[in-house]
């Protein structure tokens, strides 16, 4: 059984019962996610395009959520993108690994049709803006692996902010 609160010892009426559970799984990433993670391990972002609507999804999940068909073509995306929206996390929570306050943002890579969540660093938390142009900062080559930990964070790349119209449909 797992470690966790035990049924408390008491001389009075029993009011609680500990019923810990532990289930072990083998998670299968599936075809699309496996391709994406292998790309990450090589320091690149790989998306997939829907043959029906032409949209590029990253990370790809194997199907287009609007058409319900398998995404087919692999598309390599660059390292730059636009912050579509963001929030500044101030509240501590269990399992937190990043020092608060920190910026959590939705990042639309150039060429993608869906944003994904990422950490923004190298900017004071009161200066983050929608439309800010950012670039990925990867770990050192010898530390690349099959997980998003290969991407340390995104940081401003100095380009002028993207106009609202260029990303408004991705909000």
């Amino acid at each position: 059984m797992t470690d966790g609160p035990a049924t408390p010892a008491t001389d009075g009426p029993v009011t609680k019962l500990a019923t810990p559970i532990r289930i072990e799984y083998e998670y299968t990433a599936g075809l699309a996610q496996s391709r994406f993670l292998k790309g990450i391990a090589e320091g690149k972002f790989l998306g997939q395009r829907c043959p029906a609507c032409g949209k590029v999804y990253v990370p790809p999940r194997g199907s287009c959520p609007t058409d319900g068909v398998a995404t087919t073509d692999e598309v390599q995306l660059g390292n730059t993108g636009t912050v579509t929206t963001y929030c500044v996390v101030n509240v501590p929570f269990q399992g937190q690994s990043i020092e608060i306050p920190y910026i959590c943002a939705q990042i639309l890579l150039d060429g993608a049709n869906i944003a994904f969540m990422g950490l923004i660093q190298e900017i004071p938390t009161d200066q983050i803006r929608m439309g800010m142009r950012v670039e990925a900062v990867w770990v050192d080559k010898d530390q690349l692996g099959l997980s998003m930990a290969s991407v340390k964070y995104f940081r401003p790349n100095g380009e002028p902010d993207a106009p609202y119209e260029s990303f408004q449909e991705y909000l």
Binding site: I23, T28, G30, L31, S63, A70
Partner: protein, 373 residues
């Protein structure tokens, strides 16, 4: 017990059915990738798309995936855009079909997609199913479903209602019939005598009396009235459908009978107006994962001896959790759609020892207008 229904039943039919080939481990594709071809096939075989569906309802369980809201990502297999009416049950797809049938009764929509999926291979199914039991009095002992089914099988033997040879006969027949089902997982020709040489897994159940562990997915399209006739030359009309549940206190139940199956069958109008007569359908697809349970459900449904039971091989040949019940409805419907049967009954179960049961009566003719089946 409730009387046969007398309300007006809007004629709703199964017009398409598709399933994945049942396998022990689907370990290359994830749930969405496994489901997509099934949804594609259930649509393409009748020339419709998701845009023709008035409602989407699915059955699956997060406990198999080990992640919350796993059914939400499965919608990617359908493509719910523009936004669609959608629902989900943490149950076998047979119950998702019940919900879709219920919504179709209201008359606002004419079609529904029902789908379900389950991969048991990522984890230990025997352990996961203990989590559906009473958390105070049963789950802490982690009884596996084989042990619970064995308690029921022993009770059946003690009551003089069956023998181990009867269990072997059910298993032998099912797996031999499965040889004719390209989607079945376990199919072989072995007689009862040979099977009785199997070791016990949990006595009195030997290996052959147990279902396989399966990864799979299935889908059905339902359509109402004229829409059903337009989509399929010979729709499988649902003449009645009902489901009932017994208490979860295992020791308070009579494990040798299935009162909930009997009540659901009455609610589905299976016994007609003559009450207790033997039911003469052409085919019965019963979701009885353990061979001993087929004997109980046959009796609850009062099936005539002449009825072909589980020509697909049933759950003993392929038992994807969350899927095998809908597959029973699909297989029964397929016999009507291909013209080899005129009347059929499909059964689905959930919970330990047949705790909850659904009965679906199907026919080549729609239910009479203005009255129940």
């Amino acid at each position: 017990m409730s009387p046969a229904p007398t309300r007006t039943v809007r004629p709703v039919a199964v017009v398409s059915f598709a399933q994945s080939k049942s396998v022990r481990r689907e370990d290359h594709r994830n749930e969405v990738e496994m489901l997509m071809p099934v949804v594609t096939e259930v649509f393409s075989s009748i020339g419709v798309t998701k845009n023709d569906m008035g409602f989407v309802c699915s059955g699956s369980t997060d406990y198999l995936v080990g992640a919350p809201f796993s059914f939400v990502s499965a919608l990617d297999a359908v493509g719910v855009w523009p936004p669609m009416r959608e629902s989900h049950v943490e149950m076998d797809g047979a119950w998702a079909l019940y919900e879709a049938w219920t919504l179709l009764q209201e008359g606002e929509i004419d079609t529904a997609l029902v789908y379900c999926f389950g991969r048991s291979s990522p984890s230990d199914l025997q352990r996961i199913l203990a989590l559906q039991l009473d958390p105070y009095y049963m789950a802490p002992m982690w009884p596996d479903p084989v042990a619970l089914a064995a308690l029921q099988a022993q009770a059946l033997i003690d009551a003089g209602k069956a023998t181990e040879r009867d269990f072997a006969a059910v298993a032998a027949r099912s797996r031999r019939d499965a040889l004719g089902n390209p989607n079945a997982q376990v199919a072989k020709d072995q007689g009862p005598d040979e099977l009785l040489g199997d070791d016990y897994v949990v006595a009195p159940l030997r290996r052959h009396a147990l279902p396989p562990v399966t990864d799979g997915a299935a889908a059905i399209v339902l359509a109402a009235g004229a829409r059903a006739e337009a989509l399929r030359e010979r729709p499988a009309w649902i003449t009645g459908i009902d489901h009932r549940i017994e208490t979860h206190a295992l020791g308070a139940r009579d494990l040798t009978t299935s009162s909930s199956t009997r009540a659901a069958a009455e609610g589905a109008g299976l016994f007609g107006t003559s009450g207790g007569a033997s039911v003469a359908v052409d085919v019965a697809e019963l979701h009885t994962p353990f061979a001993s349970q087929e004997i109980i459900v046959r009796d609850a449904l009062r099936l005539a001896d002449s009825v072909a039971v589980n020509p697909s091989g049933g759950a003993l040949a392929a038992n994807a959790l969350m899927v095998a019940g809908l597959v029973r409805i699909g297989e029964a419907a397929a016999r009507i759609m291909d013209g080899s049967a005129s009347r059929a009954v499909a059964h689905a179960t959930s919970g330990p020892c047949l705790q909850q049961n659904l009965v679906c009566a199907l026919a080549a003719e729609p239910p009479a207008a203005g009255g129940g089946a």
